[in-house]
Amino acid sequence: MQSVVRTEQLTKDFLTGFWKPRPGRVLDAVSFDVPRGEVFGLLGPNGAGKTTTIKLLMDLLRPTQGRAEIFGRPVSDADVRQRVGFVPEQPYYYDHLSAEELVQYFAGLSGLSRVDAVARTAAVLTRTGVRDEDRRRPLRQFSKGMLQRVGLAQALVHDPELVVLDEPMSGLDPIGRRDVRQIIMQLRDEGRTVLFSSHILADAELLCSHVAILARGQVVALGKLTDLTAPAMHGSEVVVSNVNAEAAARIGAHAARVTEIADGRYCFELAPGERPEPVIAILAAAGATLVSVSPVRASLEDIFLEAIQ
């Protein structure tokens, strides 16, 4: 599997203290690979080192130790950023410019000709949902959600193969979050690689195929989301209806927890290792109707909480 982004033992110290500055380690030997065409989530609580990692990848910070590569080239190679789109956390853009002017300016910096910049700007502003009547207004009049849309437009204007988003859902309302999610899914469907940081696990669970969980500057969990959650099976859940009290009591011996939903409808939570077949056989014999049997996996939240503790 080809890596689009690779970090090896990436470490960053910042000097802290006024009189006698001492190095404080904010990132400690972080190594991960982002596979081509996947959505990779960089997760972690506040202060875990997510933004520092992204800034190192964008060459906004220089590593104390270790190395980072994008498309097999060191991140210090400015040419590699021709293939990368980036939206920083809570972006600020020149408020005297209009959305159109800003995106065209950034398109030019990415090497697009004037004609191409104008055409691509119109296309990406449409794609990110910036309305025609808003495109020539100064950005100082834009809401946070609209600025995020403009931020996405500038990141996509040069048709990048890798899109890096730092906390893209932060501060957005539910509609804004949904729209950003949809754009990320579209980017994935187009075969682009997306690396985004977030502490909103529901979004990560919905979007990511791979994740790295950071805590206190270190990678504490890394891999495919399915691989991370599969080993942590939490038993299974059997939902049945038309269950009489006697059958319910008999099954209670097999179940870790029994919940009566309503009118003879029950949910039996079976402990890990307890197979559902004997329970289903008893219920069938008692004339109950099977509604569903579902394995209960650990959620990303379970993995996350376990990893950062």
Binding site: F14, K55, M58, D59, L60, L61, R62, A78, D79, V80, R81, Q82, V84, F86, P88, Q90, P91, Y92, Y93, Y94, H96, Y105, F106, G108, L109, S110, G111, G151, Q154, V164
Partner: protein
Amino acid sequence: MSATRVQLVAWHVFKEGARDRVLFTMVGFAVLLFGASLLLGQLTAGQDLKIIKDLGLAVIEVSGVLMSVLIGVGLVAREIDKRSIYGLLARPLRRWEFILGKYVGLLMTLAANVAVMTVALYAVLAWMQWTATPAVRASWEAPALDPAMLVAVVLLMGELAVLTAVALFFSTFSSSALWSTLFSLGVFVAGQFSGQLRELATAVGSRAAGAVGTALGLILPAFGAFDVKSQVVHGLAIPLEFVGMTMAYAALYAAAVLTATIAVFNRRDFQ
């Protein structure tokens, strides 16, 4: 090097300056002062033209210096402070291209403003020429619309080119606009006396003080060399060779400061 990227950054700085109300106000105020100098000239019999020229060139210089320092110190610091630099440097834009673009853009802004003020000054002088009697005109040491005034303006642009580089240098590593402004203005004022500093050794008789004075005199930009206002006002000729050498000095000094600026900026982390 991509000239296009440098041009784009420069053009962006120029556009930002063109929309800056503070700059408009400053240039407007300067133009008003030229008008007011007409009144001042009425009060000084026989000296009116010299006063208008002297005051006019001084106003252009002060406005240019203030614009250069006040905009220059915020040019990079504001980008870092507001984090707009993240989006820029995430492009295939080298850090040195960014600095060079900012510098060229501010010089373009200054040149445009100085040009507007110069045209306004010449308009006032044209009015003087038109209204003066032949006897008054004959008493002038130099014609009202003396093209030599443009030499003073060219040298002023050389001075601003050096000062802008100095302001940009402070802007790259100081997080306080106030300190950057004070340092830049301090260099400007001290630079006016760089010639005297070099002669400190003979004046004070102390070798140590003389060495410090000489060193400072050599390091500080020789801003005094760019000031030819009094020669121009009195109609004295300014040798072309002097203008050429002074502008070459400005170019070399600005290039050296920009090189130091880029070296500092290249090492910076943007937290």
